[in-house]
Symmetry: D2
Subunit: 334 residues, 4 copies
């Protein structure tokens, strides 16, 4: 058994980490109290409640934590990552702090200076399906954003295969459950405002866009993205539109995905009449990808679905941890 | 007071018609029993329950109905429309029976022959914002589909203004509440299948597509449409993407809409940070249209929202009735 | 047209007041900015937005407001009521400030001193079905709580008829939609905490209990009440259990209600298989009451349902206003 | 690995069985096609789909099934149980077919004759917390109903301790998620009818009542039960009211439960401010029981919560299977 710490265990991603890690045969999760956590009670009902320690370098060292998950806002992650690394534990950060490659890009999208440019340079982007070779040796892994995970898994194989007509543009219409907005109470995520409602936000300018561009290689003008709030708690579904002039059937798209993902444990493929939906991925680490194609007009639609708290956050973080600590990649996740 | 009949008053659109007509100062709604209605009890609680009559030409004549709403499937509408017209009442049909201009097009999308080609030739498409001049004199008005109403009100002014780059295509990502699927029980609309879920259906091939093409003038390859099921009972929101290379700001789009809709009582315009959402249109006859534009890349996003049972069905049907019977267009609808 | 003011128009009850008053033919609603309202935008989309004035005695006087609705917390209502009365307007208060008859009782349940004991002595309890005679002349009407409205309309006629076995006790199991908790964001009313959930709160000790006791004449040990949170936005349904040893059929209970409520416009009666539910009362001012009775064992169950924002708040407040200003009691409410 | 069969695997309880059994280290689930199953596709997405066999005695024998779960309507269970037992497999039946002790009682509540009176005499009631000693040797275990499981676990310890004033009666106000009504489409369980709604059904006369009476020893006139439909997919919460004149504090109630359930793996106890809710038991086999008590008036309220598909159906069935096949009782359930 190895011990790993979780900072931000009261948030939805943090609580999901605790929940999932309890199923992991080789890991003992340890809750780390940071600021507002101290004194409160974790929202977890268990016969043996998990160990709780203060979130300090000393405690990391004393408890011999192998790794710490930061399920914290980016500014907190920037502050804590260096402390924890200095205390000998490795880090998987679930915030946006270390996702964009340059401090300038971070500042442009997150509207604050990056205080840890050296760590940013060192951080490895934790999308195992494309960055698996870099993760085992990484000290600091930056866990991908939820929207970019679903978008990049859908787009990158097709872009590498060169079948998308980039000139006419790609549209990614994304819908997310409310847990993606975090646990902090706000009017926007109040029950009475969300139930029976559906609304768009951050139209064309969501801060997850640059993460998609980075991994997919697309330019901003080629990729139109809108985020929308669904009246449900968990799940992201993205409907992606483009033209594929060189293809002749949905099978051509499927073949590209099958080649790419043949050995991937967490990507499943669909074509009509069966297409991905949110219940199919809820509480799983799967990314379900479905393809539709209109041959006469060469228009394609890809539906990509994940659970934003699992493959979009805690599950993928554990996938990264497994790679970092030498466990089978799927341990605790199937 | 004029009497109007409602066939299909147990369905969601029909029940909404009854509900809304009770607020109309000049209309007395009469329920017309057709097949499975006979014997049952309408789901309406009122001190004085509405009059119920059999759905026959004789009853139409006897009751001196001025107009009959057909909230019935297309095959039933085809069968009943001629009977009712022959009995002296006018007809607003809420089905898809008389929306497409040719019997061939109907057969191609609805997978059955059209049995009333003469009526089809006579029918007037009831989108008042664009066909208002034809409606007062019409005997038979075909009430628009829910998805096409939201799409055409958003697209046609911009297409007429010539600002959309049609070559790179328009994407319309549509989401609908469950009442759009009708009241007949099915696994797809069961509570346990829909709650917490979101899914796409009829990707690129929904039967409402030709209705959009007809009114907007777009060709099929220019318009990519996907319908999706939201876990809520009423409302349609469409997120529409295109390029507008000649424009320089969101205000240019707004100006086009303002010109078009200045005198329209049921179209409201928005721009960020305020954008349409489903609660804003629920139980109203409004179509709320919001615009977003990224000037450097010329990409535009339009959000168009209606209540599928009101502006997308019963409300618009009453708007048409008002025009046909000479009442103020907004009577009973504000 | 008479002008009436609304303080707290951003809250759910206040917004419902504004919404309902726009349908009233003789009333022009005026928004009154109090503290946090100032500077913000009301969540109301209208061609002509309502007039907004500061919440001061001067403004009340200047605008010649006939009446002011206080949709505010009890401490704010205590503070504002005297100011508004002094400026010549009458008051309908929707808070709990003036519902309990003595300052001591108020302090016991609301955990703060009552600062306006003279006004408390003067206040008339605004349950028109039982206090109608006192309302027209009242300067200050205290609008009943949502739970007590449903409970008292169900219980009082039966208690007056003496058919309930009080010795064996009455159980009132109450369920409410989330809007009853107000619009202020909190974790308890966050979407992700409420959706898919159901929970009890204030078991046996809810502050609405003394209001039921006051009107029904029950003693605390005779009335067991639990409040519970439903995953929906509006509606209260109470399931009430007791024994009625002298009765022989459900019809006996119905007969008592029919006698009491024959002329009441807002009470509707049901018996199995038709029983009240929340959709039946949503967005209406009705209280729907259904009775079930097991003759061999003399056990009765009453189901009482209202919309907590209408008959449980804004609708009943307008009913009171109509009585106070001399309009037909149902004006704007049917 | 032992193989066990599941008949009715398309229903919600059957699908939950398949889902849960895939986590069981010693069991391989086998789908058994019965009537309408044949030809269809199970709603399960897996790399290796489970084996499917016809639902015949021959197949049971050939596959050497150790046990078969019947997640079928009572008439189908009566028909299949004897066939399967004759083929050498044991049976856990999830229907109401074998729950009531006499054919007469069955007929009175299920409105049809009991066709297998000998099997009924042999069947063991599978509530492990009270019938554990009889389950290991049973050929046929009747899995308890969902409502009775929550009610009996809450009531029986207190009734055995003699602390409830039975003369003044017990009220059990029960609320269930929609999956309790089964997967067959019906208007009552349609999304648009259920969302935003709450309603009572089978008031005082639910067919689960005699099951509570049988296990608790209560008489019908002592136990008032109402079932109600919550707008959520899974979970049952029962609010139970009675008087306990001999007790002086909530701790006295807790002490009785603690004595009874000290060694039970699936019962958890709560007292205010922490009380059971549906999210706390969702997707678990726990029954959470919370107590509240008003000492001056001796009134008690018990809140009992389970997941109707787990402890109320599939989970408890696996608990029974574990006991029957000699596995640790919690295997696959924690």
């Amino acid at each position: 058994m190895q011990r790993v710490g979780i900072v931000g265990y009261r948030g939805y991603s943090g609580a999901e980490l605790v929940h999932l890690l309890h199923r992991h045969p080789h890991i003992e999760p340890v809750l780390m109290d940071h600021r507002e956590d101290a004194g409160g009670t974790p929202a977890i009902r268990r016969a043996t409640p998990p160990t709780r320690i203060p979130c300090t370098g000393e405690a990391v060292h004393q408890q011999a934590l192998a790794l710490v998950f930061l399920a914290t806002p980016p500014d907190v992650s920037m502050e804590l990552a260096s402390v924890i690394l200095a205390s000998g534990a490795r880090v998987v950060d679930l915030s946006g702090a270390f996702r964009l490659r340059t401090p300038e890009n971070y500042t442009a999208w997150y509207k604050e200076p990056h205080t840890q440019p050296e760590l940013l340079a060192e951080a490895v982007y934790g999308l195992p399906e494309f960055c698996r070779h870099l993760i085992p040796a990484a000290r600091l892994v930056s866990n991908p954003g939820c929207y970019p995970t679903a978008a990049n898994l859908a787009l990158r194989p097709l872009l590498e295969a060169g079948v998308i007509d980039r000139a006419s543009g790609i549209v990614c219409d994304a819908k997310s459950g409310v847990s993606g907005a975090g646990r902090k109470p706000s009017l926007k995520t109040s029950f009475c405002e969300v139930t029976g409602n559906f609304s768009a936000y951050s139209i064309l300018h969501h801060r997850h866009v640059p993460e998609v561009l980075q991994i997919s290689g697309l330019a901003e003008h080629e990729f139109s993205f809108t985020a929308q709030l669904l009246p449900l708690d968990r799940g992201i579904l993205e409907t992606i539109y483009f033209r594929a002039p060189s293809l002749s059937a949905a099978e051509d798209l499927l073949a590209i995905y099958e080649r790419q993902y043949a050995a991937e444990p967490f990507v499943r493929l669909f074509n009509p009449p069966h297409m991905p939906d949110l219940r199919g991925v809820a509480r799983t680490n799967f990314c379900d990808i479905g393809v539709a194609f209109d041959a006469p007009t060469k228009r394609a639609v890809i539906v990509s679905a994940i659970d934003n708290l699992v493959k979009g956050a805690a599950g993928q973080a554990i996938q990264n941890m497994n790679l970092m600590l030498g466990y089978p990649e799927t341990e605790g996740l199937l």
